[in-house]
C-alpha cells in the first residue's frame, strides 16, 4: 500500500516537473535560494563596509547636507596612529601582549578542565555548569565593573599568600606579576566554550585505542602525549583561533575602546582615524591567527593527502596509457 503510494507519487512528481528542469538543477536553485539571504547580507553589511572602511582610512570624511565628501589623505591616519598618537601604540601593544599570553593560557586551561571532566563521576554536571557559567554572563561593561570591584580583592585573596612567599622578590618584579595574576583570573573566563568543544571531541576518541595502548604498557602520560594530543590537534587550532577572535573583539579591550571613542567625537578627523586604527589592530589580529595556523596546522597530514592525490592521478594516467 505504502509502496504503491510512493510509486504513484514518484510518477506524479515526474509529471509535475515544470519547464523541463532536471531534479539536479532544481536542487541547485533551491540550495542557492536558501543561501541567498546570507549572501545579500554579507555583500551589503559586511563586504561593502569592509571595502569602504579601507577607503575612509585613506580619505578625510566630511559629511555635508549634499552627501559625504571624501578628500584623499594618503597614509596620514596610519602615520598618526603609529607615530604620533602614543596612547594608541601603548594600548595596541598591551592588547597584543594580552592575547599572546592569554590565548595559550585559555586553551591550555580549557584542555586541562576538559581532561578532568571527561570521565563519568559524581558531580560531573555540576562542574561542567560551573566552568561554563562565564560564557553566559560575560559582557564588556560587566567585566569592567568586575575588574574595578575586585581589584581590591585579588590583593587580599590568596595571592597575598603567594606574595608573602615571594616577598623576597624585588618590588619591580612583584607588581607586574601580581597584576598579571589579577588579569589571568578573568582571562580564564573566556575558556567556557573551548572547554565544551574539547570535551565534545574527546568523547569521540575511540576507547579501544586507549585500551590497546595501556595493554602495550603505555603510561597515562604517554597516552596523553601520543594519542590524545595528536587527536586533538585540529581542535586546539580551532580553539586558539576562537580565543584570539574572542579576546581581540571584546568590547572592553583597551584598543577597541579607543577606536570607538575616536569614531565620532574626534572632530578633526572623524571616522578616518578610527578606521586606520581598526585596520592596524585587525591586521595584527589576523597575523596572530595566521601564525597560530602555521604552528598548529597538521602539515604532515596535508602532505600525506597531497601525496595520495598525486599517486591516485598517476595511477589513473598509467591505467589509461
Amino acid at each position: 500500500m505504502v509502496l504503491g503510494n510512493r510509486i504513484g507519487g514518484m510518477q506524479m512528481s515526474r509529471r509535475k516537473k515544470p519547464h523541463g528542469l532536471t531534479n539536479k538543477h532544481r536542487d541547485m536553485i533551491a540550495g542557492s535560494l536558501f543561501f541567498l539571504p546570507w549572501v545579500i547580507g554579507f555583500c551589503a553589511i559586511t563586504l561593502y563596509p569592509l571595502i569602504y572602511s579601507i577607503v575612509i582610512s585613506f580619505n578625510e570624511v566630511s559629511i555635508r547636507p549634499t552627501g559625504t565628501v571624501l578628500t584623499p589623505r594618503g597614509w596620514r591616519y596610519y602615520i598618526d596612529a603609529l607615530m604620533v598618537d602614543t596612547e594608541f601604540r601603548t594600548l595596541l601593544l598591551e592588547s597584543i601582549r594580552r592575547i599572546l599570553v592569554g590565548a595559550p593560557m585559555v586553551v591550555i586551561f580549557a584542555l586541562i578542565v576538559a581532561m578532568l571532566l571527561n570521565r563519568p563521576f559524581k558531580g560531573r554536571t555540576f562542574f561542567r555548569v560551573i566552568f561554563f557559567l562565564p560564557v553566559v554572563i560575560i559582557s564588556g561593561p560587566m567585566m569592567d565593573e568586575l575588574m574595578y570591584g575586585t581589584s581590591a580583592m585579588s590583593l587580599s585573596f590568596d595571592f597575598s599568600n603567594i606574595a608573602g612567599v615571594i616577598q623576597a622578590l624585588p618590588r619591580v618584579l612583584l607588581e607586574p606579576l601580581m597584576s598579571f595574576m589579577n588579569n589571568m583570573l578573568t582571562i580564564l573566563w573566556f575558556s567556557g566554550v573551548q572547554t565544551q568543544i574539547f570535551i565534545a571531541v574527546m568523547q569521540k576518541i575511540d576507547r579501544n585505542m586507549y585500551e590497546a595502548a595501556s595493554i602495550d604498557g603505555a603510561t597515562a602520560w604517554e597516552i596523553f602525549w601520543r594519542i590524545t594530543l595528536p587527536y586533538l590537534r585540529p581542535t586546539i587550532l580551532l580553539n586558539v583561533i576562537y580565543t584570539i577572535v574572542e579576546l581581540g573583539t571584546f568590547s572592553s579591550d583597551g584598543t577597541n575602546v579607543k577606536i570607538v571613542r575616536h569614531m565620532v567625537s574626534d572632530i578633526a578627523r572623524p571616522f578616518s582615524f578610527s578606521a586606520a586604527m581598526s585596520w592596524i589592530y585587525a591586521i595584527s589580529l589576523l597575523f596572530m591567527i595566521f601564525i597560530a595556523f602555521l604552528v598548529l596546522n597538521d602539515w604532515k597530514e596535508v602532505r600525506r593527502v597531497r601525496y595520495e592525490k598525486h599517486q591516485y592521478h598517476r595511477q589513473r594516467i598509467n591505467s589509461k596509457g
Binding site: D27, F34, T68, I130, E145, M153, S251
Partner: protein, 317 residues
C-alpha cells in the same frame, strides 16, 4: 592450616584495600579520586571566586564595607545596595530594552542561518567551497573594522538611533557570531540521513515543505543551541548596539557602563556627602542585577547550554 587461611584472608583484604586506595591500571583508586575532586574544587572555586565575592560584597552595608574584620560574610544582609543600584540602572526599562534587543534578533538569526545551513548541506550550491571560506572570513573579521562604515551606512538610511540596525544585521545573517551558527546547522544537516528528505520528496513534497515539515523538527537540538547562544550573545553585545541603536534603547549592559554617571545624576551631592557615596558594594550590586536574568536563564536551561555543544556536533573542522 587454619593459620595460613587467616593470613591468606588478611592478605586478600590488604590487597583489596590497596586496590581501593591506589587503584589499578583500569580504574583510578581513592587517592586518584580525591586528588581529582580536590583539583576540581580548587579550580572551580578560583574560577567563580569573583562572582562569589561580588555577591558577598553587594550584600554588605556601608559599615561592613569599612570594617576590616568583615571579609566574607556580611554581619547582616543589607539590600540597600541593590535598592540604589536598581534605581540607578532603571531596571525595568533596561530589562525591557535588553529583551527587545535580544529576543527577536536571536530568532531572526536562528531562522535565517537554518535556511543557509540547510541549503548548503543538502543541495549542490555552486561555488560551495568559496562560500564556506567566506563564512570563515566573516567570522575572522574583527567587528571593530566594520563598525565604522556600518555606522555611516545606517546613518545614510536614517536608521541610526533606532532598533533596526541590529535587527537588519540579524535578519541577513550578519549578527553576533553568525558564522558559528551557520556551521552548527551545516554540520547538523550534513550528518543526518538524506533518505528521509528523499522519501518525502518522492511523496511529492516540495523542497521548502520538506525543510519545514521534516528538517526543522529533526534539527531541534541545533535550533535550541543556536537560539540560546544567539540570545545571550545579543544580550551581552554592547559595542554595536550602543553605537548604532543607543537613543532608542538602553540595554542593561549599556546602562551598567554608564553606572557612575547615572549614579551621580540621581543622588544629589548632599546625599553623597552624608555617607551615601557610590561604593564598591553598590557597583557590584548593579553588576549582579544586570547578569541576574542571564543567571536565571542559565540555571533553568543549563542542560541545553552545556550538552548542546556536544549534541550538535559543532566540532567537525
Amino acid at each position: 592450616m587454619k593459620n595460613t587461611s587467616i593470613i591468606g584472608k588478611e592478605l586478600t583484604q590488604k590487597v583489596k584495600m590497596r586496590k581501593i586506595v591506589f587503584g589499578n591500571t583500569e580504574k583510578g583508586g581513592l587517592i586518584n579520586e580525591i586528588a581529582i575532586y580536590g583539583i576540581l574544587f580548587g579550580l572551580g572555586f578560583v574560577y567563580i571566586y569573583p562572582l562569589l565575592y561580588m555577591l558577598s560584597l553587594s550584600l554588605m552595608s556601608t559599615s561592613d564595607l569599612v570594617d576590616a574584620t568583615v571579609t566574607w560574610i556580611p554581619t547582616g544582609f543589607s539590600f540597600g545596595s541593590f535598592d540604589k543600584a536598581a534605581k540607578t540602572l532603571g531596571v525595568i526599562q533596561g530589562l525591557k530594552d535588553s529583551v527587545i534587543m535580544s529576543l527577536v534578533p536571536a530568532l531572526l538569526q536562528t531562522v535565517i542561518l537554518a535556511f543557509a545551513g540547510y541549503g548548503m548541506a543538502r543541495f549542490h550550491v555552486p561555488f560551495k567551497k568559496f562560500w564556506l571560506v567566506l563564512m570563515i572570513v566573516a567570522f575572522l573579521i574583527p567587528t571593530q573594522v566594520t563598525l565604522i562604515p556600518r555606522f555611516l551606512l545606517f546613518s545614510r538610511y536614517q536608521l541610526l538611533k533606532t532598533i533596526w540596525p541590529p535587527y537588519l544585521m540579524a535578519a541577513l545573517g550578519q549578527g553576533v557570531k553568525s558564522s558559528i551558527f551557520f556551521f552548527i546547522y551545516y554540520q547538523f544537516f550534513q550528518s543526518y540521513p538524506k533518505s528521509l528528505d528523499e522519501a518525502a520528496q518522492i511523496d511529492g513534497a516540495g523542497r521548502v515543505k520538506v525543510f519545514i515539515k521534516i528538517a526543522i523538527p529533526m534539527a531541534k537540538p541545533a535550533i535550541v543551541v543556536s537560539y540560546l547562544f544567539s540570545f545571550i550573545w545579543f544580550w551581552n553585545e554592547t559595542t554595536q548596539t550602543s553605537q548604532l541603536s543607543s537613543g532608542a534603547v538602553q540595554t542593561l549592559p549599556m546602562r551598567l557602563s554608564d553606572f557612575v554617571t547615572a549614579f551621580s545624576k540621581i543622588y544629589s551631592s548632599t546625599e553623597i556627602s552624608s555617607g551615601g557615596a557610590l561604593n564598591e558594594s553598590i557597583r557590584l550590586a548593579g553588576t549582579l542585577i544586570t547578569v541576574a536574568p542571564l543567571l536565571l536563564l542559565y540555571i533553568l536551561l543549563q542542560r541545553y547550554f552545556v550538552e548542546g555543544v556536544e549534541r550538535t556536533g559543532i566540532t567537525g573542522e
